[in-house]
Symmetry: C2
């Protein structure tokens, strides 16, 4: 079996393409002044020492749990910058004591009963791709230890309902396995977060992951038909229904619960037919502002593009699109049912009326461009490993704002990030793109890349992260649009939600998890 990397994305041996690394290396020097001295020398696994498990497991857990060092290392961190930096530097102060690999709901119930009785924290683990401390063990002294509960054996599509276009899937299944199982039926979940290859259905649902579609069905929540979750108090199993209006939504409590209420074990998911018609267009704008206005009108047009990604000039250039002077809007429509050129024509007209210039147009049956794009999109986390190792501080912020306040909000974030970079690091950039569009505002996504001082990058990252996050919340933006809260965003989430809703969440947790063993420290205190 292929082994996951301890400090980096994907499997051992799978790295960013050397050609790509070669291509970007000159930019790192030119743009950020990165030299050899900034580089981190990753520790080899053999050099890393971790403490022994702090408690002993009885025999009944022999088949479920392991204390294997590699497994414990792999379950210590997610994939945030902080996580990568600590892993590369061999810092594993608080690994889980065991990793559980349950095969059945019964196994999970047994674990929960044991953990409840013995004050052990359980951490639901899907693909481990959290970038906000969502799967890191608690350091609270209230627990005698932690077990990371890896759902990898819940990896099947159990049933396909072609008529209603939905499928019952186990929660530990990863993106590629889902698509592989659905393809023979002509169906697809079409949920492609950047973590697609190494994240799980249950993780997507627990974190309200952001999906493929730029409009309408922006988040995994939209595709949840029903859910099954094991909690320390019992099992929640919601009905497979297209919709209902009886009371507050039961699924809405589970979506975004980040493992603090229980472990999602399976879900009926709404599917798409594989698109047969597809067309896309790239539009350039001399100013980002013009692109924003085009996105606003587009988002309110009722045309519902599947892709509508506005990328500012600098980020576009770094991604090999545009000339570095123009902001770029990538527009796409797709359908299994009908040609979509007509839709694209209307959308292009809107963009052109706002000052856009058509750069190219690709109108064809599907699968021409999508493969290329998908590959390059999924390369990004591999590439980040290279950047981090070379000494670059890399962080992303994803938020949302209504159109009326967007300009002000956007300017404040850019200015705050620029100031934080110059205050805390040496030199860097902040770039912007829109990942999703709503009729009342965009989800904007910011990427900070900065040259830090050798050996002090983590501290600098922390200061930049804090400054920008605080500004987002001060300007009334959400601390996350789809990366979740975890432990890292929790203090900001507390400022964003109402105090009473915090109490409701805690009351819900007390009901479902009276001993407070589920993922403590995440989402709520």
């Amino acid at each position: 079996m292929k082994k996951r990397k301890i400090c980096g994305w994907g499997y051992e041996g799978d790295d960013a393409s050397p050609v790509l690394v070669e291509k970007i290396s000159p930019y790192l020097g030119a743009l950020y002044g990165i030299t050899e001295k900034h580089a981190i020398q990753p520790k080899r696994t053999e050099e890393i020492r971790i403490r022994s498990p702090r408690f002993v497991l009885s025999n009944e857990f022999g088949g479920i749990c392991t204390s294997d060092k590699l497994e414990r290392l792999n379950h210590s961190y997610g994939k945030s910058y902080r996580d990568l930096w600590r892993a590369m530097n061999g810092l594993f102060d608080n690994p889980p004591d065991y990793v559980a690999l349950p095969q059945s709901e019964k196994d999970i119930e047994t674990l929960m009963a044991f953990a409840t009785k013995n004050r052990i924290a359980l951490i639901p683990y899907g693909g481990g791709s959290s970038v906000c401390g969502g799967i890191e063990p608690t350091d609270s002294k209230a627990y005698i230890g932690t077990i990371s509960v890896d759902m990898r054996h819940f990896d099947k599509v159990l049933e396909v309902d072609k008529v209603s276009r939905s499928a019952l899937m186990q929660a530990g299944i990863y993106g590629p396995a889902i698509e592989h199982a659905l393809k023979p039926h002509g169906l697809t979940l079409r949920h492609f977060p950047q973590s697609f290859e190494f994240s799980s259905l249950g993780g997507w649902i627990a974190t309200r992951s952001g999906g493929h579609f730029a409009t309408l069905y922006t988040r995994i929540d939209e595709f949840v038909e029903s859910l099954r979750m094991v909690t320390p108090s019992g099992i929640i199993d919601t009905k497979k229904l297209p919709s209902h209006g009886a009371g507050p939504s039961e699924e809405a409590l589970i979506c975004g619960s980040e493992g603090v209420l229980g472990i999602i074990t399976s879900a009926w998911m709404r599917l798409q037919q594989i698109p047969q018609y597809k067309c896309s267009s790239t539009i350039g704008f001399d100013s980002f502002q013009q692109g924003v206005e085009a996105c606003r009108i587009l988002s309110q047009s009722g045309l519902y593009p599947s892709n509508a990604r506005l990328i500012d000039s600098q980020e576009a250039f770094l991604n090999g699109v545009g000339d570095g002077a123009q902001s770029v809007l990538i527009l796409g429509f797709e359908s299994h049912n009908h040609p979509v050129n007509h839709w694209l024509d209307f959308a292009e007209n809107i963009a052109v009326m706002c000052g856009g210039i058509k750069l190219n147009k690709d109108s064809s049956r599907a699968d021409n461009q999508s493969g290329t794009w998908k590959k390059s999109f999924l390369q990004a986390p591999f590439l980040r490993d290279v950047l981090v190792q070379k000494g670059l501080i890399v962080e992303t912020f994803e938020t949302a704002m209504t159109w009326d306040r967007f300009d002000q909000f956007h300017r404040a974030i850019i200015q705050t990030a620029q100031k934080a970079i110059s205050d805390y690091a040496e030199y860097g950039t902040i770039t912007t793109r829109f990942t999703h569009l709503y009729p009342d505002g965009p989800a904007s996504y910011y990427t900070v890349m900065a040259r830090g001082r050798a050996g002090r990058q983590l501290e600098e990252w922390d200061q930049i992260k804090h400054a920008v996050s605080a500004k987002i919340v001060e300007m009334e933006g959400p601390i996350t649009h789809h990366h979740a809260v975890g432990k890292d965003h929790r203090p900001f989430f507390e400022k964003q939600r109402s105090e009473l809703f915090g109490r409701v969440l805690k009351a819900s947790k007390s009901t479902l998890d009276p001993a407070g063993i589920m993922n403590p420290g995440t989402l709520i205190q």
Copy 2:
């Protein structure tokens, strides 16, 4: 000021058009054998006696509360068949002791503090159009009395954000006042439940009301940008945002809470631009089955019609559409942005491929047909008053089911209703339409009309209502798609939701309303 009717829809003096009544009267005889002997002779208000308030209010409530007999009668019941029947028969055993008419959140807080201290139940009241016992006072002995809190003074659109297309509205505002305030801005909420003229924004949100759009934005929830709710524990005020992914949705807890957690006082609502382009088409099907299949493919097509109402042959005929042999699909597209004929062409092709026959087509700029349709749609509750008074038992059931199980589900409901009609009443019909379409299934809406035995209609209604509701839940359908739970559907809701979610709802209520004064008996026990 115009006075609302005590037993019937709308204002005193506004009745169903005599022409319409004249037109349907022969059918009542022919179809249901309704004669004079079945008719109910409504009691005059002067004949109705109600008990005195069971507790005394201190002077501080002089400006907020009234014990006026008419007000108390008007706040005793909603508008279900049971409500109409009891009102017509002058049965008002359990009126609220007072009706409060708060002018400010401060007034509401004062009421809640008083009610908490004195074990008085408060019932949030918008337009009073509940058809499931949602605004009827509790008969629990745990309270010394009840106050119906009528939000009619919260009737303003406070702020319009044209850029993001949203508006801040007070929760007591009725449908027509919303549209009147938005029209000068070229905007519309476009939420037209049948109760539109006599229901409020807060009521729609609290009950997850069904909206204008047949696809995509089917329920008021979709248009809620942020909410403000006064609870006995304090105020919840959520952020005005296009979207966020931080934790479970706070708004989702409030939408559908039916007044048991607090009183919604205002909301930022997402709006539409007033449509300029509109086209529609009517398609006939020789079998209802064919129409269902057309709806399924349409719902999964990505065309998103604003209207897609499949009506079975009998219901179509009773509504003056079709020849009584064909089921009818009314299809409509609309846009402020672009002509929609192209969309309709694709949709019609789907219907024709499934065996549909185009009956007519109206392609025009907006406002031609919509006025006529809207008028006739809004006439229905007035007409129901006439039917009930003539002695007809009238009830609707609205539910939803995934496409794979729809045929079986539908047959079971029809058979159960037919059996219940013949077991409990004398003679009647059950007809079907689809009100909303989801990619994984339809929201189906059933209308039962039956001739009952003179004086025993309420008992017979109750038996039919129970038999069909029990079958819906037995077949795993939701007890409501958009009429809400109230007190009448609560036993069925309890079977539909998970037991643990019931406990979470109760824990949420204990947090926000520790004394349990808010709308007791509704939604949860």
